[in-house]
Chain length 388, copies 2
DNA sequence: GCACAGCATGAATCTCGTC
DNA sequence: CGACGAGATTCATGCTGTG
């Protein structure tokens, strides 16, 4: 699935141009929305490099459960499970972690990101390995449980949280973060690194034929939903290398994302398949993400002058009233000896390195001091009606 | 050595009282309640082996900050750029961590325990090294900050917490944990692994002659108080190998514990000495008054969608029936061309500057128009236990 | 003296597209 | 790849100055 290069012809306010643009294929790859049976590292070799947008991983930390650990060279690790031989156990776990993280790193897109969830038993080793392999940690996010299991023996604090590490492929990656959507979600305050959510119980918890919980560590869908709403866009492909009961797949489908799962146990594959089949994708209108200004079409300041929303020679003022600037016909402005863009002059008159001229400068309209950003919004609204 | 009866007037974190108390003359080693000047590893060689009950360590975080960071108002953030936080590589940081942890391990009593605080920059490496050296992790405790610095560029989640690792010297250690005291402290429910506390500001924050913060990373006394009340007994000796502004010493003295500090900078030693001299030891009765107060938990609108109490694409209406809005999966809403949070869209459709979306919007439930504020109460009740 | 507005600041790995 | 320039972006709290 090679990105396609298309020729875009555009016309905007009487200006025309041609632009080359790469367009991701609308056709989803064959591996999308499938569960691959097998060991994590071996199964991931079936996927093409740089084909995954986001990874969510809930790796095992009990070495007995992990079983069959392999080193990066595929040789089997002789896992020691005696309590006294911690070093050998940790070494085995590190080899296992290194192997699956390398496999995941290969299939992750350069601008993709990765989530790993764990507890104090394993998360420190995972975090260290992530850093050693060149991943760039963006946040550690704490899932605070409303209803954790109490500490029955009264020997420690109630273990009431788990830790997720969110990392990009490297320091230069331009990962996805839906900042505006998260902020709206959180009543117009930035989303914090601590999330309060109940554990997975009740009807959401999958049961086996005997009525017992099917999977020991089934994660709540709300947790995965927040992960995907924060770090993916509709249509993205989310890989879960330890698929288990398929929470990642169910939430991906519900939110209009694609999933790829890797799972060794047929019983989990069967349960997850049935579970995902019963999920309906939310309507497209509900999946639109609130987008910030960065995602809106760029409107140059000159366009406002061109459209007559601001007159050549008109005086703009700062809110404080302390600064003024004169608009010139070409969209540049001058203030005393300073000339340049609205941003540059705004910075110069304040003695700053930078300034957002859109929010700094104002003009009088109907006797009211009006931000030029509000005038820009008029143009943007017109563009939206015209189909952007 | 007859026990003496004294009258104690106490004031502790805003509370006051008077108490009669018998004071038993304590035998303490010569190094108790002193600050050793020098490099951490070298200085610790002066202490006898197995002489310390609990260690609290706040090592350099290795922040790896690149350029400067400005707030939206263009003011410069005063970053931690001190020499002591600079390391050439992860390898160098690991070597440093290994060295001081080994030095600390030598002086720790067999049944002693150790706390280390850090952020995602370093805490994973510290945790891994602890495990590799044979320490036994008891809990990872999350310090949730009520007032963290925001993420100014909107590129990540607000980094709103730091992580403390609490570990015993080994799996067989019989460490101190004051379970009943912690439970009483926490209104008779088990103390959880997530603690909500403000950062150190205001009068508690030490200032230099110029009125600037003396130390870049001074920790709040309330944090240390909870650490010591949980894991030490009166008269215990607490070692802080990165003493800094001396919070550990001040709290140890206030709570009737002894401290040993190691610090390289004379300016910090002087400030900590003066600070600790001004501290009075509190009577036990004062400590019983320490209760975690629970604020009403904040429930963002997105959480209602996340929890399934409101469906994506569902229509909300104003009481008047004049306005409608559609809910999207990310917790944002849209009404015509208006998009944003419940509050913002509520304001926009009415032409107001502000609106409380919780009381403005309603949904139909069992044929009845129901305020979304009522749905919020359902979630709030579930969350009350977790302490906001 | 009090109320209120405005300012200052905190362990931070904090831009992106185009030429 | 680097340089350049447009332009996007903050929450809780405590202190200071003013009326």
């Amino acid at each position: 699935m090679v990105p396609e290069i298309v020729v875009l012809r555009w016309e905007l306010w009487g200006m025309r141009g041609v632009q080359l643009k790469t367009v991701a294929p609308a056709v989803r790859p064959a591996f999308a929305d499938t569960i691959i049976k097998g060991d994590c590292v071996a199964a991931l070799e079936q996927l093409p490099a740089h084909s995954i947008d986001v990874v969510f991983a809930d790796p095992p930390y009990n070495l007995q459960l992990a079983g069959g650990l392999t080193r990066p060279d595929q040789s089997l690790v002789d896992a020691v499970d005696d309590d006294w031989d911690q070093f050998a156990s940790f070494e085995a776990y590190d080899a296992f972690t290194r192997a699956w993280l390398l496999a995941v790193r290969r299939v992750l897109k350069p601008d993709g990101s990765l989530w790993v969830i764990g507890s104090y038993h394993n998360i420190f080793r995972v975090g260290t390995m992530l850093q050693d392999l060149g991943f760039w940690i963006l946040n550690d996010v704490v899932w605070r449980k409303t209803n954790p299991m109490p500490n029955f023996r009264g020997k420690r604090f109630t273990n009431a949280h788990e830790t997720m590490i969110w990392a990009s492929r490297g320091p230069q990656s331009r990962y996805t973060f839906n900042y505006e959507a998260m902020k709206a979600f959180n009543d117009d305050v930035q989303m914090r690194s601590d999330w309060l959510l109940p554990i997975c119980t009740g009807g959401e918890r999958l049961k086996d034929a005997a009525g017992q919980k099917l999977h020991p560590t089934q994660k709540p869908e709300a947790l995965l939903a927040r992960v995907m709403l924060a770090s993916t866009k509709p249509g993205d492909i989310v890989l879960d290398p330890f698929f288990g009961s398929g929470t990642t797949g169910a939430v991906a489908k519900r939110l209009g994302r694609h999933y790829v799962g890797v799972e060794r146990e047929q019983v989990y594959i069967d349960a997850a398949t049935a579970r995902i089949a019963a999920v309906e994708t939310a309507p497209a209108a509900a999946l639109e993400l609130l987008r910030g200004k960065k995602a809106e079409p760029r409107v140059p300041f000159g366009a406002l002058v061109e459209r007559g929303l601001i007159q050549p020679n008109e005086i703009m003022t700062a809110i404080s009233g302390r600064h003024q600037a004169r608009v010139r016909a070409d969209g540049s402005v001058e203030s005393g000896s300073h000339t340049g863009s609205i941003h540059r002059v705004g910075a110069l008159v304040q003695g700053f390195d930078a300034c957002n001229g859109w929010t700094f400068w104002n003009v009088h309209r109907n006797g009211v001091l009006t931000s030029i950003d509000a005038l820009r919004q008029i143009v943007r609204d017109e563009m939206a009606v015209a189909g952007g």
